[in-house]
């Protein structure tokens, strides 16, 4: 082979050429007979138009509200929980947006806020991480204990390994895809070569991190050790990965977006759809069993739903809604409805994958919630459950219960009973009636 041609092949393998994925679109069929327990946490920003959110319970079951109407096909597997409070969030004074997002899955007050334009440090481990270890245990563990996917999250994390160690979402579906499926397209010998090179680079990095952690001033040790730990975890995961089951066929590669971490408003729907596809495929191939899907960041990020013909900022409209501005209220309701359409796409994606007696959705518990209800308020949050074997078609009242009680109930349902979770001040007990 000529040198030029070999270089092309080499560069293509690194994702720089015009790499066409050699796979054809195909249904995602998972041959596994056992049915692992899975959970997906979906965060959506800025709360809801309250009077368009709550469903009614009729004689025939749930009568969905205008916002929830896109979920009609899943009504029998849908639980709407009303009255849950973010209790630590309600107690904490500070940037309400940061608190609402950063405490949602940890049920702990933020440890620190990093000032204007800055991020925050979470106050404890998040529930997805608490569950990830157990749900990934067993004879055939998935390669990723958890995945964090996002759209325009700008580094405002909902997951945390522990206090002060946020786990940010990957905002780029192309990057997530490459990490999960990307190198399947390489010829085996070339893939082996690339992987061997990476192992060498990682060894060098790790050795040097260890040396620096030993020799640099004590203050520098913690970040260096955390970095070394992350390199090691990454390598361990790759080492533990077996051959991909033949039944796992990757989806089409996602569309390329020019600035995935600072996308134009109009590109947000593309990113949302792409991340949903990556998520469904990752679960279908049992690459992971715990996923957080985060739509939007914390505060006023300037996002406008221009694709819905809405020209004012989402954040601004959310503030103007639920009050005396009927126009803003309509627009918030329209944006909420669009969000529920995206959730319906996710549920439909999961429901299209046969698994065991039912579908992937039957074996995946999906929790969707916003950290805010109305304005900056963190009480009476909008919360939905779907799939995962949780009975549906109902409204569950949890007036005044802390979110931690839901996390405890979900853990119990997923077979990971926890002695407690979240801020001890809340002394939360599992929310009754969830499963």
């Amino acid at each position: 082979m000529s040198r030029a041609r070999s270089r092309r092949a080499f560069l293509r393998a690194l994702g720089l050429g015009a790499a066409a994925a050699p796979w054809l679109p195909s249904s995602l069929i998972h041959a596994e007979t056992s049915t692992p327990r899975r959970v997906v946490f979906v965060h959506f920003a800025h709360g809801v138009a309250r009077d368009r959110w709550s469903p009614q319970l009729g004689a025939e079951g749930l009568v969905l509200s205008p916002i929830l109407a896109p979920l009609e096909a899943f009504a029998a597997r849908l639980t709407v929980i009303e009255g849950l409070d973010n209790a630590p969030g309600l107690r904490q004074v500070g940037d309400q947006h940061n608190i609402a997002v950063g405490t949602l899955l940890t049920a702990m007050p933020l440890r620190a806020d990093l000032g204007p334009g800055g991020h925050y440090l979470p106050g404890g481990i998040s529930i997805d991480q608490r569950l990830a270890t157990e749900l990934s245990a067993g004879s055939d563990p998935p390669p990723w204990p958890s995945l964090q996917l996002g759209v325009r999250t700008q580094g405002f994390a909902i997951s945390a390994l522990e206090a002060e160690r946020p786990l940010r979402a990957d905002d780029d579906p192309a990057s997530a895809y490459a990490r999960l499926f990307g190198e399947l397209g390489l010829p085996p010998a070339q893939l082996e070569q690339l992987q061997a090179q990476r192992v060498r680079a990682r060894d060098l990095v790790r050795t040097r991190l260890d040396t620096l952690a030993r020799t640099l001033p004590a203050a520098d040790r913690e970040p260096l050790e955390a970095h070394a730990e992350a390199v090691e975890a990454h390598q361990d995961r790759l080492d533990a990965m077996g051959p991909r089951p033949a039944s796992c066929e990757p989806p089409d590669s996602p569309p390329l977006v020019e600035h995935p971490s600072t996308p134009a408003d109009a590109e947000v729907p593309t990113l949302v759809r792409a991340q949903t596809e990556v998520l469904v495929a990752a679960l279908a191939c049992d690459l992971t069993r715990v996923v957080t899907l985060q739509w939007g960041s914390s505060g006023n990020d300037g996002l406008r739903h221009v694709w819905q013909g809405i020209d004012q900022e989402f954040h601004t409209l959310a503030h103007l809604a639920n009050g005396e501005d009927p126009h803003a209220h309509e627009q918030l309701a329209a944006m909420n409805t669009w969000t529920m359409e995206q959730l319906a796409e996710l549920l439909a994606g999961l429901d299209a994958v046969p698994q065991g007696e039912g579908t992937l959705l039957d074996h995946t518990l999906v929790v969707a919630l916003s950290g805010l209800s109305v304005g900056h308020h963190m009480g009476d949050l909008p919360v939905l459950l779907a799939g995962g074997g949780v009975p549906g078609g109902r409204v569950l009242s949890a007036a005044g219960a802390p979110l931690a009680s839901l996390w405890l109930a979900l853990a119990q349902h997923l077979g990971v009973p926890l002695a407690g979770f979240g801020d001890p001040a809340d002394d939360a007990a599992p929310l009754p009636g969830v499963a």
Partner: protein
């Protein structure tokens, strides 16, 4: 450890406000808002007494290079081996902001970040492989010698890692760079593979990614003196936002950089170098909170001619202005806040309208201008300095309308160094739906009616209202969208600027001559230099730098000089 740091930071914010605003009576509004019934909050801290004494050394966190620094560093390191226009910034994980500036010192690297760092390094390495003749002349032939690869990495690695390498280290890089036979079934060029392997490992090396400051022991176990090469990197990242060049490295090799006079001489040389523009932009873009400029968009119903292609032009205008004032002009803070010359292409001139008219600037004072940019004189009644430039006003606005609260808060944070508390948790915003057709001023007056809002808004709103003369694109206007005449009377209560301010020019000129604003500008540079907010230990140095800045009538190079000649610039507190 991190918890302690976070707590110290919270304490520091409070006490330093007291310090830097010592002559301002009253407290920032945040203190008025704390509700005793809510109990203790993680965000509250008690002021610590100031520690006296000479600031021989300050704590500096271990920082990972920011996206901007990586971009500049790779440009300088790899030059034309990177394809023109290859923007590497978004390949790396997003930056952490602390104290208002990107520092990457607070959030440890996660497994996702490890993968992102790996992929970013590979993408850059692969791009450079493609243009390998630009990496080193000897790499151009199809079959370069083994000695060529060794020479390439021997020259590159110490630059990338910003220090001389021990013989064993050099040997291991040389070994990695030696071509190896391709494994069976792999048909790649062994030299390309060797360059790729070596460069991607180099760019993942902790010494490349982190600002390593090991230092050397001193008599005081809590104080380490930086190595000469670490001092060179402090200088280069402060002034150029990039790695040291050959001259800095030579001064490090000879140990001259321990001498304050040598550092001052280097600073002078570095400010005269074209790379200084990048460094100054790195500071000023963050100081002015222009992160959203890259994705600026406007409501096309209000601004039908807005075009995303304006974004790089707006950034280029700001860069030309900063270069004009600080590198080609008198370099004074007052001029930054009052200059009536800016540089725009026709596409931006349109947004200035009658405010801008053609002018000439003497050759020696002209900044480097992109194609199509020309100097324009700004109307003295309507514009004054950086705060009133279109890129700044357009970024600090909503999509369709101006944002007096946001603009007012910006002035308090970035010119007066105040920490503003977030809105109280249960407040309804806005309190009452605005009456149709009411002006922003009428709407903001509602804040006065609720004491929970009034505490902060009485500080924020008047400054922002003085900027109401500019619409959401930063164009001058006489009427708002509802047809109300603009009333741009404002004020900066609780600052050293007293009395009413009649519009944006009065606001900008008042800030130009405010002692508080000048002290704050110096504080912002210290935050940028340290990669963290100031704390009680920094008080003496901060005051010294502020005093020297004021004594020099707000001369920015003097401020930088005060920083780099300080003992604290070459030492590090490592308690």
């Amino acid at each position: 450890m991190m918890a302690l740091r976070a707590m110290l930071r919270l304490v520091a914010t409070t006490s330093c406000r007291a310090l830097t605003l010592a002559f301002v009576s009253g407290l920032a509004c945040g203190d008025d808002l704390a509700d005793p019934e809510r109990g203790p909050s993680a965000f509250e801290g008690r002021p610590l007494p100031l520690r006296g004494g000479e600031p021989l050394a300050l704590a500096v966190p271990l920082r990972r290079l920011t996206r901007e620094q990586l971009h500049n560093t790779l440009q300088d390191l790899l030059g034309e081996a990177l394809p023109a226009g290859f923007d590497v910034r978004e390949l790396w994980p997003p930056d952490d902001v602390d104290g208002g500036f990107a520092s990457n010192a607070t959030v440890p690297v996660t497994e996702l970040a490890v993968e992102q760092l790996e992929r970013a390094a590979e993408r850059v390495a692969a791009a450079a492989v493609r243009r390998r003749a630009h990496l080193h002349a000897c790499l151009e032939p199809a079959d370069p010698t083994a000695a060529c690869l060794a020479q390439w990495i021997e020259e590159l690695a110490p630059r990338a890692l910003r220090r001389p390498l021990a013989p064993a280290e050099l040997e291991s890089w040389r070994a990695l760079a030696q071509p190896e036979p391709s494994p069976a079934g792999v048909d790649e060029d062994p030299v390309d593979a060797a360059i790729f392997r070596t460069l991607s490992a180099l760019l993942q090396s902790p010494d490349f990614l982190y600002r390593v400051e090991a230092g050397e022991p001193t008599d005081d176990p809590e104080v380490r003196r930086l190595t000469a090469h670490e001092i060179a990197a402090r200088l280069s990242y402060l002034v150029w936002s990039s790695l040291p060049d050959a001259s800095l490295t030579a001064d490090a090799d000879s140990g001259r950089l321990y001498d304050p006079a040598a550092r001052a001489a280097q600073l002078e040389r570095m400010l005269a170098d074209p790379r200084a523009v990048r460094g100054l932009m790195g500071f000023h873009r963050q100081w002015l909170e222009l992160g959203a400029l890259d994705s600026l968009d406007k409501d096309r119903n209000v601004f039908p001619t807005f075009d995303p292609a304006l974004r790089p032009l707006l950034a280029a205008e700001l860069q030309a202005f900063v270069e004009f004032v600080i590198l080609r002009g008198d370099a004074r803070f007052a001029t930054l806040m009052s200059a009536r010359t800016t540089f725009v292409p026709p596409a931006l001139a349109a947004w200035y309208g009658d405010d801008a008219s053609p002018t000439t600037v003497p050759q020696g004072q002209l900044p480097a201008l992109p194609e199509g940019f020309v100097p324009v004189a700004l109307d003295e009644q309507r514009r004054a300095g950086v705060l009133t430039l279109v890129p700044v006003m357009a970024t600090h606005a909503k999509a369709g309308r101006s944002d007096p609260v946001g603009r007012g808060a910006l002035v308090r944070r970035r010119w007066l160094c105040e920490t503003l508390a977030a809105a109280p948790p249960d407040v309804v915003m806005p309190p009452v739906a605005p009456a149709p057709g009411s002006s922003q001023r009428d709407q903001l007056e509602q804040h006065a009616e609720d004491p929970a809002c009034a505490a902060c808004h009485a500080r924020m709103d008047p400054g922002g209202l003085a900027l109401e003369s500019y619409d959401a694109m930063g164009s001058s206007r006489t009427h708002d969208l509802a047809g109300n005449p603009i009333d741009a009377r404002g004020a900066l209560p609780g600052s050293d600027i007293e009395g009413a301010l009649e519009g944006p020019v009065a606001l900008a000129l008042a800030l130009a001559h405010s002692e508080q604003a000048q002290r704050c500008y110096a504080t912002q540079w210290l935050r940028y230099a340290l990669g963290r907010p100031e704390g009680p230990d920094d008080a003496a140095l901060l005051l010294a730098v502020q005093d020297r800045f004021l004594a020099a009538d707000g001369h920015v190079p003097t401020l930088l000089r005060a920083l780099v000649v300080a003992d604290a610039f070459i030492q590090r507190r490592v308690r």
